[in-house]
Structures are given as C-alpha cells and as structure tokens.
Symmetry: C2
Subunit: 405 residues, 2 copies
Amino acid sequence: MARIVQKYGGTSVGDVERIRKVAERIKAIRDEGNELVIVVSACAGVTNELIARAKAVCANPSEREMDQLLAIGEQETIALTAMALHGVGVDAISYTGAQAGIFTDKVHTKAKIKTINAKPIEKDLVAGKVVIVAGFQGINEEGQITTLGRGGSDLTAIALAAAVKADKCEIYTDVDGVYTADPRVVKDARKLQEISYDEMLELASSGSKVMQSRSVEFAAKYDVIFEVRSSFNYNPGTIVKKEIAYMEKVVVRGVAVDKDQAKVIISNIPDKPGSAAKVFRALADASIIVDMIVQNMGRGGIANLTFTVPLTDAAKVQRTLLPVLEGLGGGEVAIHENIAKLSVVGVGMKTHSGVAATLFQALADASINIELISTSEIKISVVIDKAKSDEAARVAHAAFELEKL
Amino acid sequence: MARIVQKYGGTSVGDVERIRKVAERIKAIRDEGNELVIVVSACAGVTNELIARAKAVCANPSEREMDQLLAIGEQETIALTAMALHGVGVDAISYTGAQAGIFTDKVHTKAKIKTINAKPIEKDLVAGKVVIVAGFQGINEEGQITTLGRGGSDLTAIALAAAVKADKCEIYTDVDGVYTADPRVVKDARKLQEISYDEMLELASSGSKVMQSRSVEFAAKYDVIFEVRSSFNYNPGTIVKKEIAYMEKVVVRGVAVDKDQAKVIISNIPDKPGSAAKVFRALADASIIVDMIVQNMGRGGIANLTFTVPLTDAAKVQRTLLPVLEGLGGGEVAIHENIAKLSVVGVGMKTHSGVAATLFQALADASINIELISTSEIKISVVIDKAKSDEAARVAHAAFELEKL
C-alpha cells in the first residue's frame, strides 16, 4: 500500500467520456489498496472560454473577480470526477482549493501557496476515500478565492504530495514523459527514465513545455519525487528527483528548442556608466523577461547590447525602450524574430569539459551559424536561425549520442 | 438613500449582453445614492446542462457532489456581474454563498438557511460597494457547499434582506408581477399592485408559478416586504406584504389554474378503521404530495377515497398503493389525468360569504362540471375537466369582476 498523489491535466479530463476513463484508471490503482489524492485541472478550453466571457462584459476585468470566475473550471471537474468514481463503485469526495485548506498569499491570478492544512484530507484518506482536489486554486486568509497562475495544477499536486507525505506523485499529461529532444523533430529521441530537478528546470526554461519551472522548483525545495506520464496509455514516464544514479557518466541529457523568442539588438548607445542598467530596469518594470544578454563595446564610446525576449513581448520592447534611449542620448532598437534558442542540458556538464566544443562543431558541420551564446553550470544555449532549428536539434542530439541513452 | 436587495433570475442574466443590461440598471439605482445587495441566479440553462453532465458520468450522482457542481452556475454569474459593474464604473464585489456567510443545515440539494453572518457584506456596503451574492447556495458548518433547491435564489434574496435590514427587496423575474389570472389565458387580467403573503402563498400552491411557497413563507416569517417585477422593463411590479390597505373591500384577488395535477380515485376499500391512514402513510413515505382529499362512504361497509396528486407522480401512486390495497383486503385505483385545479384566492373571503356560490354558479352557467371541491380560509379550489380550464378561468375572473381591480 502506498499513498499516491496523481494530477490529471485539462486534456485528460477534457469531456465526460475522458473523465470516465480517468475514473477507471483511478479505480484500478485504488483496488490495489493504495490511498489516493487526485488533483484535476479544468476541462481543456473551459478557462479560455471563461476569460472570453469576462472580456465580453468588461475590457479590463479585476483580478479578484477573475479568480472567482476561473475557479469554477476545476470545481466542475472535481465534482464530475467524484461522481464518475461513485459510478464505478469507488468512495470519493471532492474538495475545492478552499475546502482542501490550500492557503495562499493575496496576489490574485498568480498566488503563491503559503500553507496547506491537510488534516481533513488525511482523515478522508484514512477512512478509505479517494480525495479529489481542485488544482490551480486556493484561498487567502480573507476567504477570497485565489488562483495560482500557469501550471498551477501541477503545483497543487506537488504541494499536496509534500503536505500528505505521499510516497509517489504522478503528473498525468498529454505527453509520455521527458524526452532527450522533441520526438516530433528528432525521430530517435529517447524518453528519459529519470531526470534531476536541475536538468528539468533548465529544460523548462529552454522551451520544453512539459512543466512550468515553479512546480519543479517547489518539488526541489520540498524534495518531492514525481513522475511525468501520460493518461492516455500505461507506459512508464519520467521520474524527476534530486540525484540520478548514472549522473556522472552521462554528460548531456536533453536538447530543447525554444522558437518563441526574439532577439533584440540595441546599437549605438552612448557608453556611459548606468546605461545598461537603465535599459534593463525599464524592461523589468514592463515585466519583460530578458535572457542571454551580451554587451559589446563598439568603437569611440559606443556600446551595443544584444539579448532575447519572449516573442510576444517584442512589440512591447520597442515601445518601452524608445523613450529610455532618448533619455540616454541615442541608440537604435532592432528586433529579429526569425531566431530560435537551442539548449543542451545535463548535470554531468559540471564535471566534463568539451561540451561546448562538441555542440559548436556539430552546428558548424551543418553550416548553422551561432548568433549568441550563453551558458550556465548545466546548460549551453545558442541563438540560431529559426528556419534551421529542427536540423540543429537533430545534429546536436546525434553529436551527444542521445539516441543511445 | 435606501438599502435595497435585488434578485435577478436566470433569464435576466442569461448571457453576457443581458448581464451588461443588468449592470446598467444597477448603476442607475446606485447613482441615486442607494446601497445595493444584488442576488443572481445561474444563467438560464446552465443548471440543466450541468445536471446532464453529471448524469453522463454517473447514473445516480451523490447529492453532495451535485451541490459542489451546481454551485458553479451562480459563481460564474456573480463574477461576470461584478466585472460588468466595474466596466460601467461601479465599485462592486462578488460573494459566493459561503463567502456571504449563508449557513445552512446539512441537507444537500434542498438545504434550509439557518443563519446569515452579514457583517462582511455590511462592511462593504458602508464602504460604498455594490455587493453581488450568489443565489441558491450556502455552506454548512462542515464547510461543504449546499444548495437550497427550487426557488433558492428568491430565498437567498429575502433572507439577505432580513439579515441586512433592507428597506426594499426586489425580485426581478421574467414576468411583470402577480396578475389576477394568467394574462395569456384571461385577456383582461390585471396586475395587482399589492398582495398579502397569505394570498401569494395560496396562489403559489394553486399553480401560479411566480414564486415558490417557501420564499413567501420565509418573507412572511421575517416580515420582509418584497416586490416582484420584470428586469426587461421599468414597470412597477407587485408588492407582497403582510396587510393590504383595501383588503376588506376586495373579496377575491386572483384566479389560478394548475394543469399539472391528476385525480386519483380509490374505490371499494373495505371500510375498516385505519384504512385511509394506511393509504396516506404509504403515499407520504413515497414523498407524494396529496391535495384535495374527499372520502365517501359507499354502501355495505365499502369506502371510496378521491384526491389529487402532481401529474408527475401519477405512475408512482399506482405502484405505491397496489400492495397497500392488497393488505387491506381489496380496492381499485383509477387515475384521471385530464383534470385541472382552478382556485380563487383572496384574504377578503374570510369575512365574506357567497364566494363559493358565485364561483359554482359561474361554472354552472358555462356548463363546466365540478368534480371535487376543497376550501381553505382564503381559497376555494375545484377540480374540473382540463379541456375547459381556460374557459373556467375566464368566467371565474369575470364573475368576481377582477378586471376592475
């Protein structure tokens, strides 16, 4: 007997038929004698539909009311999932975020979990009930409903796993696990049996869309081991944990491509102390996330700055920086949207040299030009031409022999 | 300045366009300096859609989970209504039943309100906010969501009006008010300016579908004066209160027809003490509401019982009574579905004789046969042929000169 937390995403509970399938799946695991806490998301599409209705009544809806509205998506799926379990003879009870005692701070639409009072859930588990909890939502100390932002249901599952001291935490999604590269692009990509939190974090920040970084960070902080797997089949997924047995031997664990980035070049800034700080302060104030910064000294006291931003923020960058550059006494902004960021990630890099050389050689052999480079302890990222990014993923994957993992 | 509770039903908030119209309406009343508590129902159709989904995942959904599910209907409309008010520049805040402190007993799907902690609402009212409250729902002392059953949103409004000591309570619906008869049947039916709780109760139990009896009973108990009016126009509605100024002069206030009744005749029951009790105990145990009971002694120790039941329960009556009659040693059950119950209602009847005679004469003049009669202090009901019920309503309306009210 084990205590297991499972999370089912929006496509897994996308309609009543799928909810019934999920119930069958839960029943099988319950029948093996396990204690189960099930976290569910809203049906795929429901959240967007609710947002559209909100925008139809008010151009700029308040975040408090948005949370009040969006929370109904999960409240629907928890009730339907509990009913579907009753339908197959499993004793189950649903909990909203508030009922589950998931207390957050007061920041609506992107609240942080502060504490979980897991006593009522534990009582129901001991009484033999499957407990269904609404993902993505909580309650603040004033009794107002809050939501946790993107990836919030994963976070709910991992936080609950920590709170109820679960033996296992399983994140069911529409992919099979974490791969060495996107299998749609790299045909011989391999599913990883295990991956470390750090590697998972670098992959998430490098455009691999399996999970949001904050959930992985939370798991790392509370040392919650979790498995990413598919609810549409019974294949084992990828286990994410702190240390991996063969970590020393394998240098690179995966290749990720992020096509949703733009490259920003600011040229001819008068090179005075604090110029760069002013640029990046303005971008931060506009909530634009900046990555891969390179500064070049030009000739004659002129500096150039290059960095990447999310593609969706590219227009905002232009609007934000023009007045700043005016204040600095000059400079032009150029945005290049046809770029991609390719990253190779692996904890083993820490103790192995030559990873950068291998990557650069592989790209050079394929005549792929590198426009920017940035590195961390366990990641190397390069900016390349977007049109060549699929080919780049394949040659990098082959260069590190990831198909042999 | 007045403190006003308004309730908008499911058709009034049936889509985003209508929610915006309701917001404009609320703004106008707010701009006059009034304090407002707004109770809203779920969008028309949403509750039925949710019930359909529940039945699709489970043949017999648990009532606790049903409440958890159905409560999202109003949670959607409160958030959208608050947003729509923000959109027109009105400060507003939404409350679920739980947030509004509406505490109920533990009976899921038809909970009774026990207490309301109105302090948070009053604080927001004093702070100048329009408070939007989800109708139909509450919370029990274990923190579980409950719903109040049919007509629950009216009940929420009336209970809140009592709790916040409102000066006015307005129930917005899709009819203009309470009429002397159904205007679709009786062309010269008049809208009543005022009606007493007792009359309203008798009309409700006589098939007039403006409001459920329990809301009127609650209003009578706490002496909450309320107005029934339409959200689609600005006509004054009907005010429902304890005493009406001209009550003494007017004998009959309205004619109601209930076509959803069936007549049950049980004949040839051996007439032993307790036979009738056994019949009605069995019907009560099957939750069948019985009305208009008449017992006739037949010849030679044989009794006949006649009564009416809701049409939807007719088949259940047969199933329920056959074993009982067997136990009593005989008797047959006959169900007549082609009947209607016509009622004339008026507090003035108490002190006026001749109402029954006037009604019976009017029906006789129109060759309408009376099959059963029952009377209360302020109501006379007759069972007649369903095919003649519209004509009966017209002749009764004319006989009491209700078009002159």
